[in-house]
């Protein structure tokens, strides 16, 4: 929960320590970033975010328009409209809600609108399951959004603010999603530091309004018909912008560290320098993973860990560098790539990146709880050569090998 890379003593900005759930931390970040139009539809487990934002707006603490839309399809549509008009926008979703807004997700990319969306991740139906895994956000990987995965409430707060700065940067102009564990982060009360002076947030991430807008003095057409003669080049600009955003994401994170005393990098390594075995994971279970690494180290195994914080754009080169010297890479995936070459989406991408076999471990599907002992048992099996690489294994699943 703490263990951030930059020590608190480097802080420039006065901060106060408070306790918030992940959801309320995100709402506070959106308020401090002075979002102008918020449109959302309730869905578990994200609902407290928009409830809190509605409260801020109705209490006069945030001068914004809150649109209680009639569906997630309309939530994404309304923020696309508002962003196209030049406003700083926010929406939040989970699971089926993301599925319902899906049609509009690539449109926000094609129009290059800097929408920021929160996501308290949750699995997809059926069977109906309101609990957290990463099935929803993983289904966004091919659409062109910037995708952050935060570990805890503090990081979710910080990342939302960073996301506004990145998305609105004139080198980027792309929508960004900040995902964090449904329930395990969204609903758990955690301590976090927030700036005392909200103006600091606006100084760090001022509203640029530099993107192409619906301006009556300078009429532009957004979303015109892109014939085969034009579509590919226009879409490719979004592809290039996403690639270029890697640098902007890094800059924004470093700058955030300088101002607020916390930065996370694109990937967060843990005792990885001399590791022979690495555990790669994302989201809130990284705390358990670190515990496993410590235990293995005590037992003489040179273990390390790596957390995925930014999965789009994919920080491939950094990945290669960090895992260059590692013999065995175990990837704990928290979503299923049904029928894929490996059953975990990140395992597939990591295997393609490092071009080494990976040990594919599926865990927490439908929020099936695991503990550090279960991760430890799996990693020990990998270490002893009992599991073969490029084969899906499960942790916590009953009745299957």
């Amino acid at each position: 929960m703490t263990a951030q890379i930059v020590a608190p003593k480097e802080r420039k900005v006065a901060q106060k320590r408070i306790a918030l759930t992940g959801n309320h931390a995100v709402a506070l970040a959106v308020k401090m970033a002075r979002a102008e139009v918020i449109a959302a539809y309730p869905i578990t487990p994200q609902t407290p975010v928009v409830e809190k934002l509605a409260e801020y707006v109705n209490n006069g603490e945030l001068d914004a328009e809150f649109i209680p839309v009639e569906s997630e399809h309309s939530a994404m549509s309304a923020v696309i409209g508002a962003s196209a008009m030049g406003a700083r926008t926010f929406t939040e979703t989970s699971s089926q809600g993301l599925g319902h807004m899906y049609e509009n997700l690539p449109i926000a990319v094609g129009m290059r609108l800097p929408i920021v969306m929160g996501m308290a991740v949750r699995t997809y139906s059926a069977p109906i399951n309101v609990w957290g895994d990463y099935s929803d956000v993983m289904s966004m990987r091919e659409l062109g959004w910037i995708i952050y995965i935060a570990q805890n409430a503090q990081e979710a707060f910080d990342t939302v603010i960073q996301a506004y700065r990145v998305a609105e940067d004139s080198r980027v102009h792309l929508p960004a999603v900040v995902a964090y564990d449904g329930f395990w982060t969204s609903h758990v009360l955690q301590p976090l530091d927030v700036p005392e002076d909200e103006e600091e947030v606006m100084r760090y991430a001022p509203i640029t309004r530099s993107w192409v807008k619906l301006d009556v003095d300078n009429p532009a057409q957004l979303g015109a018909v892109g014939t085969p003669e034009w579509y590919w080049e226009i879409r490719w600009q979004a592809v290039e912008a996403l690639r270029a955003s890697l640098k902007v994401i890094q800059e924004a994170d470093e700058e955030y560290g300088k101002v607020f005393g916390r930065s996370y990098g694109l990937l967060t390594p843990y005792r990885l320098e001399d590791a022979e075995l690495a555990i790669v994971a994302y989201g809130s279970i990284f705390g358990l993973v670190k515990k496993v690494v410590d235990r293995l180290r005590r037992e003489g195994v040179r273990a390390g860990a790596l957390r995925l914080r930014v999965i789009r754009p994919w920080p491939g080169d950094m990945f290669k560098k960090l895992l260059e010297h590692v013999d065995k890479v175990a990837v704990i995936d928290r979503a299923i790539n049904h029928g894929g070459p490996l059953y975990g989406p990140m395992a597939v991408e990591i295997a393609a990146t490092i071009q080494k076999p990976v040990y594919n471990v599926l865990a927490t599907i439908g929020m099936r709880a695991i503990d550090s002992d279960m991760i430890y048992d799996a990693v020990v099996k990998i270490h002893r050569g009992l599991w073969v690489p490029n084969t899906p294994y499960t942790v916590g699943l009953r009745g299957y090998e």
């Binding site: 309309s74 309304a78 508002a82 030049g86 057409q221 015109a224």
Partner: protein, 333 residues
Amino acid sequence: MKVAEEYPGLYEYANFELPQEELFLPGHGLCASCTIGVIARHMLKVLGPDTVVVNPTGCAEVSTVVYPRTNWAVPWIHVAFGNGGSVASGIEAAIKVLKRRGVIDPNRKINVVVFAGDGGTADIGFQALSGLLERGHKVIYVMYDNEGYMNTGIQRSGTTPLGASTTTAPAGRKVPGNVTHKKPMAAIAAAHGIPYVATANPAYVHDMVYKFKKAAEAEGPAFLHILQSCTPGWRFEPKYAIRVLELATETGYWVNYEIDHGEFRVTLPVPRRKPVKCFLELQGRFKHLKPEEVEAIQAVIDRDVEEINRIMGKEVIGPVDPSLPCITPRGAR
């Protein structure tokens, strides 16, 4: 004029000059004689340059904004098929907050208009429209109704009339075309309790521009249901684009009315109606109908007219007069 006697002040209100300036520019790819252009052109003449147009998927979108060209001299956005209402909600909300924050001049009036077809309004866009109306965003929603999915061919939509032959409700040996009734979109919109609802017909431009003006001045959402003749979909000769629309009104198939703050009034009375046969005969989509099927459609119209007269408390749409010629010579009206 009978209308002026019946409703003193009604069109005096519309006695304004339309500007010379064209904001819906020539050079579009609409079909020959398509009346979407008539609607869009007059709409922008009334609303002026400070207008943002939201255009869901439809004929208007694919034929007027093919990159790198455009026919709209105002900011225009297309997002998807079913979300015109919600995109406009976001734009309207953004304008409000940007005015409060001083980004946009608070005294500047910017119209937000959704320009959507019947599919994007009555079918896939119905929910977003209802959300927009229910939340009370100050948006002018203009539905151009060509009574089918004319952009993708000629498939039936929720506003396709009884008996019309379309590619997904074809006149077959067993089923004589579309078996459902036209969805009453203006009445549905009015049921949301919004300040202004009207139906219009581009054959009567004076009446139509008056309604655009009223819609722009409404203090909340305004919904305009505008009939639009479609050459390939309705299958008439291009020269009849306006004639067929006139017949829609003259037969009572289409009634031009407005619901201003709940007050219903017919803005274009028809003292003597032509039989609906006149309207149907001009179009290929009704060619297959047997006399008894035409009679069934006539019976539906008679019932609707009766209802309108009952609401008005007097006869504003008169009885069918079989002695009237289907095609009234020009200047005789």
